[in-house]
């Protein structure tokens, strides 16, 4: 039991904007009107936020684990968590170890994370890693936009069948929702090709286009009532001039809900690397006119990182551009992945445009409930650098100073210098917690209301925004004080959110022969057993109004 008294509370889910208010958390870790006994935290003069929620990150599974193998040179220079009697050791950096991932997220007040890209074949592995990420609660999304069996149904126009196939895969993976990466493009990459046009047939198909995949995945997620809509990584990531592809993709949603992942990578104009510029104004305008679509920034921070994405063809291009290490994974007929270490430099015009574009989206999309803090960790930068982004959002003067580091050639390529908006604390609380929680359909998260999960972060007010958000005074997870005065106190294991969509039991008989034809493992051994999920929490499906 815990009481937090006297703090200035920011709870956007309940419209509370800096009101001094007491919070009580019971033994179940939920907010209640009052508690008897237990510890009291005197938060007088401090700022109280709901625990952070990361809507899009890559922290567990085959791809990030491959990235760990590829970057020992980073592990040996980065943060090291020293073993204590009760707490495991770990390493931070570009691709932190599982234990360190939990410590680093909780260390800056984040209490829920969404692993955004899991092939079904790797789901068993991913759940094992998620179980080893302490403190935070977790969800994971299943990669679906390049799955051959599903694509074959869409090619044949069997939409009802496609819906059942998708539900079967989702439940086999024991995941929380659907991720679409470069629809059709990763499938084409198996033979060295890509899919760049929304309306051109994908290699190996006569009718199926990326646009058809987008429309139907969005529709299926709505019809199944998944709490999180389709989580979409558009085609043509990172390419100059891709804004037309992105807008075209958004139009293919045909009014369905969607979350657009890391928009920054999809908002470029120009027709080559020399002419590449930011087209965030155009994209922001589309979001401003379509309130049912959400996005996360995928902001870029200058410095070293490692890029990992299911977008295999893009990673091959990045390997050719940089000449650095390249890892490629092919996950049978489901999806694939590429890994390339990368350094974003302010002196590089393309990187400078990317840096500005991420911030522009966060500032130009008017409704903070539509655009969330993310770096597409580790692609644009490491998640533990979020406080740097918060500072850039809250302080126009810090942005101006940073702009001075960019090359002269940046003039006319970005709109950031013309933007004066500064985030309020209330808006930061939406962007880092209440907004992503709502977009994920996790109504018990990012919300300090009665009955919600007792996840709280308490900051000491400080002019230095980066320091304030980087070093919370207290972090409370499910009513337990996990961090106090900069020290991790407890590292309890978190929970995992899972959805069971409605599914026709006959689908097994349909899937079996198709599966046995092309998969390399047994049909019976493929679905992840429920017993393998550490602390599962079932989240109900919802009614999505049309």
């Amino acid at each position: 039991m815990l009481r937090i008294t006297g703090g200035k509370v920011y709870d956007p889910a309940n419209g509370i904007d800096g009101v001094v208010k007491d919070l009580c958390i019971d033994d179940q870790g939920l907010f209640v009107p009052a508690v008897e006994g237990g510890r009291t935290i005197d938060a007088t003069g401090m700022i109280v936020f709901p625990g952070g929620v990361d809507v899009h990150t890559h922290v567990a599974g085959g791809a990030i684990n491959f990235a760990r193998a590829m970057t020992p040179e980073d592990h040996r220079r980065t943060q090291a968590f020293i073993r204590t009697k009760s707490r495991r050791s770990g390493l931070g950096g570009m691709a932190p170890t599982t234990f360190a991932t939990g410590y680093l997220y909780a260390g800056m007040g984040w209490t829920t994370v969404n692993e955004a890209a899991v092939p079904v074949l790797s789901a068993r592995h991913t759940h094992e890693e998620l179980a080893d990420i302490p403190i935070v609660d977790k969800a994971s999304l299943t990669l679906m936009a390049n799955n051959e069996i599903l694509l074959d149904q869409l090619e044949k126009g069997e939409f009802e069948r496609a819906k059942q196939v998708l539900a079967w895969y989702l439940w086999s993976a024991k995941s929380y929702g659907i991720k679409a990466v470069n629809p059709g493009g990763v499938a084409a990459w198996k033979y060295g090709h890509d899919a760049k046009q929304l309306t051109s047939p994908i290699d190996g198909y006569s009718k199926l286009t990326p646009g058809v995949i987008v429309t139907h995945l969005a529709r299926i997620c709505d019809e199944l009532g998944l709490p999180h809509p389709v989580h979409l990584h558009c085609n043509n990531l990172g390419a100059p001039g891709n804004i037309s592809t992105t807008i075209d993709t958004l139009k293919h949603l045909e009014g369905h809900r969607a979350h657009i992942a890391h928009s920054q990578y999809h908002a470029y104009g120009g027709d080559g690397w020399d002419t590449m510029c930011s087209e965030t104004a155009q994209l922001a305008e589309y979001f401003n006119a379509h309130p049912s679509i959400t996005t996360d920034a995928g902001a870029v921070l200058f410095g070293d990182t490692v890029t990992i994405t299911a977008d295999g063809p893009w990673q091959h291009l990045l390997y050719k551009l940089t000449g650095r290490k390249w890892g490629n994974l092919d996950v049978e007929n489901e999806t694939g992945c590429g890994i390339v270490p990368y350094t974003y430099r302010p002196s590089n015009l393309v990187n400078a445009v990317q840096w500005a574009a991420g911030l522009e989206l966060l500032l130009l999309i008017k409704n903070p409930w539509q655009v969330f803090l993310s770096t597409d960790h580790p692609n644009g930068g490491c998640f533990w650098r979020y406080p740097e982004i918060i500072e850039l959002l809250m302080r126009a003067d810090v942005r101006k100073e940073s702009l001075l580091k960019l090359p002269d050639g940046i003039k006319g390529k970005i709109t950031l210098p013309e933007i004066d908006r500064e985030y309020s604390l209330y808006e930061v609380a939406i962007s880092m917690s209440a907004g992503p929680a709502r977009a994920l359909g996790l109504f018990q998260k990012g919300n300090l209301g009665l009955g919600c999960d007792g996840d709280v972060v308490i900051y000491e007010e400080d002019e230095n925004v980066r320091k304030m958000f980087g070093h919370p005074r207290y972090v409370i997870k499910g009513g337990e004080i996990v961090l106090e005065d900069g020290e991790i106190r407890e590292a309890p294991s978190g929970r995992e959110f899972i959805v069971k969509p409605p599914c026709d039991p006959g689908i097994d008989d349909f899937m079996r022969p198709l599966f046995e034809d092309c998969y390399t493992m047994s049909f019976e051994n493929y679905p992840v057993e429920m017993e393998r999920i550490h602390n599962p929490r079932m989240q109900d499906c919802i009614e999505v109004p049309r």
């Binding site: 567990a60 085959g62 684990n65 491959f66 760990r68 193998a69 020992p72 592990h75 040996r76 220079r77 980065t78 943060q79 090291a80 968590f81 020293i82 073993r83 204590t84 009697k85 495991r88 050791s89 770990g90 390493l91 950096g93 691709a95 932190p96 170890t97 599982t98 234990f99 410590y103 074949l121 790797s122 068993r124 592995h125 094992e128 890693e129 080893d132 051959e148 990459w189 198996k190 033979y191 060295g192 190996g204 091959h316 390997y319 390249w326 490629n328 092919d330 007929n333 020290e487 991790i488 034809d517 092309c518 998969y519 390399t520 493992m521 051994n525 057993e529």
Partner: protein
């Protein structure tokens, strides 16, 4: 063999080329067998890397590999003509002269082949679930093997922290051996050191290593009488379905109990003696 959208006839649509220093039984399963001269793997790979980019290679250089220009040209034509190529490589490459340089050259060849068609490479892993050990060590420590926790956090240095080197130098003063029989496979100086120090062995059988150990504990064989998970060499985890009930405990249970017994003793790094986190390692 599995079929696929683009290879509807399964094995018939695939071409297998075997490269080895001698004609083994696997050659019968292959479509083409290439006998390379022992110790010339690196040279052959380098020649392939040059020729795929149409660089000049002398007849003498080719002759040294034991293959002919005709055969190599044919191989390159097939590689470039493939829709999806995969190189599988094993210890014959990675543990002979050149060692990791051979593997690096081969991985570079696979990467460079992507200028022409889709190409990948995959190491052939043996020894049961060694892939699982790699995968788990990576997510828990950041490194795949050769790790020291002596500073309270993981550090990696093959050659310094790898077992044969540690044992031959006599660095460690106790050894815990599980799922391996170094007493049967390692160089004699390493075995001699295992005899000198307290060695603890967990194994379903009393092994060579058990015989030189201070403590042997019999455990249930994985996948036969112990449940759990094992990783395939392409890093996909498979559930185990034990058929038998062993009279012995599983490895998992025994190591957990050892961990619990040690946890009851005072922790070797006293509380407060170390910072919680180092911002950067030195």
């Amino acid at each position: 063999m599995q079929k696929s959208k683009f290879l509807p006839r399964g094995r018939k649509d695939r071409t297998m080329v075997l490269v080895d220093i001698r004609e083994t039984k696997s050659a019968k399963a292959a479509d083409i067998f290439l006998q390379v001269r022992p110790g010339k793997d690196f040279e052959l790979i380098t020649i392939l890397r040059a020729l795929i980019k149409d660089r000049q290679v002398s007849d003498q250089a080719i002759a040294e590999t034991g293959l002919t220009r005709e055969v190599i040209d044919d191989l390159i034509r097939r590689m470039k003509g493939a829709k999806f190529g995969c190189v599988f490589f094993g210890m014959g490459l990675s543990m002979t002269r050149g060692k990791h340089m051979n593997s690096a050259a081969l991985l570079t060849l696979a990467a460079e082949m992507n200028a022409f068609t889709k190409f990948v490479a995959m190491p052939m892993r043996g020894h049961g679930n060694v892939t699982g050990a790699d995968v788990i060590m990576r997510w828990q420590t950041g490194y795949p093997f050769g790790i020291s926790f002596s500073r309270g956090y993981p550090r990696y240095n093959p050659g310094e922290f790898s077992t044969v080197d540690v044992l031959v130098r006599g660095d460690c003063d106790a050894a815990f051996i599980i799922g391996a029989d170094p007493g049967a496979t390692m160089p004699q100086p390493a075995i001699d050191h295992l005899k000198r120090i307290p060695t603890i062995v967990l194994d379903p059988h009393v092994t060579h290593t058990s015989k030189l150990s201070r403590v042997h504990i019999t455990t249930a064989p994985q996948g036969i009488a112990a449940p759990g998970t094992a990783y395939r060499m392409d890093e996909l985890p498979m559930p185990l379905k034990p058929a038998l009930k062993s009279p012995y405990p599983s490895d998992e249970e025994v190591v957990r109990r050892i961990n619990e017994a040690i946890a009851k003793k005072p922790f070797w790094l006293p509380d407060g003696s170390q910072p919680q986190m180092l911002n950067a390692q030195v």
